[in-house]
Amino acid sequence: MLGTILPRISRLIALVILCGVLSFLTPTFLTASNLINVLRQASLLSIIAVGMTMTMLIKGIDLSVGSILALTTCLAAKLLVAQNSFGELLLGILVALALGGVLGALNGLAVTALKLHGFLVTFGMMQVARGLAYLYMHGSVIGGFRPEFTFLGAGRPLGIPTPIIVAAVVVLLTHGLLTNTTFGRSVYGIGANDSAARYSGLNLPRTTILGYTFSGLTAALAGLLYIARLDTAEAQIGEAFNLQAIGAAAIGGTSFDGGVGSAWETVIGALIMTVLANGMNLLNISSLWQTFVTGAAIVVAVIIDRWIATRS
């Protein structure tokens, strides 16, 4: 009994232990304001990481999320500023999301039509989208957005920061998409075994394209929340998200061979990474150590995960 449950909740247990240790070490960790702070920081990462999980489930990966985040928000930014009308604001949000979806779909199309690995395609997209963002912005910064927009990043309806609410909705939707739809079954089918999935009549090219589209869409959405909080858009933002999102998905147990992983486990991965960084801040550990600890945490988490999985 325990043998079957333990692997499924081992990450949750790790997160709880981590929180327990931190609340023992520093009194500020277990306060409502700090916990909300952690959740708020984890929300953007979670949104991007569930998109990443989707591409990893279909045996791919998306290295372009950080660049897509930057390009979509930079192109939309001029429509979002305070001098514009509410209608233009909505148009701006739509443009960013649509563009994110289109860039993701291009990734998926290249993966299916050119038969290239997702790693290479999205590596190319990473360079192209980032370069275009720099070209468009020419070193400028666009800021001073309409208050309705900054509310998305900094507002607190009912005391809860908006990004947390958006992230919760995205994660729930993704979970439903993966577990209760034909698309979801097709995603896991591709990951588990390409040829069996093909013979059972699942539409593989469509699923792959949709998977990458989803990842581009989540990147653009997280980007909107991000610039809403910063109240500025610039070309170099979001560069760190690529590897953080891969790290969150990996700590969450998503396999690089496809087929294994879930939205909620990835969110726990994102929370573990965020809590670690938060704890180190509270404990006054030099930020120089954070890169080291994050790297070590990823490896240790995945190794423990493998160990538990082979044991049971």
């Binding site: 370069g131 070209l135 995945v302």
Partner: protein, 309 residues
């Protein structure tokens, strides 16, 4: 053999080099000069050395994301030791030992924990980069020792020493992979691990060896880089692992493992170096360079995939 079939045998990377040379010849008068050629050779040498590591990892059906971080770490360790008063040779040897150790830890984890190489080396990227940051307290450390500077700045009969070292490394690995049992084993491991294991190849020690050698190559490239820049800073190797992977793949290495040639990787590294150098000389902004590098990479890969059908 008919001519179209013959043309089909030539790897896409060769066409890419020719097109680039033509393009840049038109764009800038200096591009085809001897001095610029030597300059490109020198600039591509560091990437070329690292690319052997990317190639070996991919060939054995893995990947190595930690190479750039080891480049950084090796430069940092050598610079710090020299600042502390160590001689050039021991400082470099210790830096190389640290790099080999980092690579060997990667190999150990990959061989025994069966965790995906992507995630192991991603973690190593964080730890090595983090170590370089912590060791130097985030600062840039000068490396101005005259003997040390020869490594990256010296030349032999007008040819940059670093370029000679890179070429020699390719010669060595070309021989090891083609002419020895060890090389055959690496190809076998990448092609089909199960089959390699069943035919009696010691798969685990082989994996550890591959990643330890990667550490050595990256460490060496790190010394050359620090020597050429005259300093070590905690971010100077970042991103070179991706250029290395691009070089290997553009040079015809299959991401599925077991297929590829080390000299193809050399062509890939030269393409990327020519691109960066040529686009610079043509005065294109950095941003446009990124776009073009991305597009050309996908273009070359597509060409190769389409022709293989």
């Amino acid at each position: 053999m008919r001519i179209p079939a013959l043309l089909g045998k030539v790897p896409g990377s060769i066409y890419a080099v020719l097109v680039l040379l033509l393009l840049f010849r038109v764009g800038s008068a200096q591009f085809l000069s001897v001095s610029n050629f030597l300059n490109v050779l020198q600039q591509s040498s560091i990437l070329a050395i690292v690319s052997i590591g990317s190639f070996l990892a991919i060939l054995s059906h893995g990947i190595d994301l930690s190479l750039g971080a080891i480049v950084t770490l090796a430069g940092m360790v050598s610079a710090l030791l020299m600042v502390q008063g160590y001689d050039v040779v021991p400082a470099c040897l210790i830096a190389l030992a640290v790099s080999v150790a980092a690579g060997a830890v990667n190999g150990l984890l990959i061989a025994y924990s069966r965790v995906d190489p992507f995630i192991v080396t991603l973690g190593a990227m964080g730890t090595c980069e983090g170590l370089a940051l912590v060791l130097a307290h985030g600062a840039t450390i000068p490396a101005t020792n005259a003997t040390f500077k020869v490594l990256g700045g010296g030349s032999l009969l007008f040819v940059p020493l670093s370029a000679l070292i890179a070429l020699a490394s390719y010669g060595l690995f070309g021989f090891l992979l083609k002419g020895t049992a060890l090389g055959t084993h690496v190809y076998a491991l990448g092609g089909n691990e199960e089959a390699a294991l069943l035919s009696g190849i010691q798969v685990r020690p082989l994996k550890i060896l591959v990643y330890a050698v990667n550490g050595l190559l990256a460490g060496f490239a790190g010394l050359v880089l620090a020597s050429r820049l005259g300093a070590a800073n905690p971010s100077q190797g970042i991103g070179i692992e991706f250029d290395g992977i691009a070089a290997a793949v553009v040079g015809g290495t299959s991401l599925a493992g077991g297929r590829g040639k080390v000299w193809g990787t050399f062509m890939g590294a030269v393409i990327i170096a020519i691109l960066r150098n040529g686009l610079n000389m043509a005065g294109l902004p950095m941003a446009l360079q990124m776009v073009i590098v991305g597009l050309i990479m996908v273009g070359v890969l597509t060409l190769d995939t389409l022709r293989r059908k």
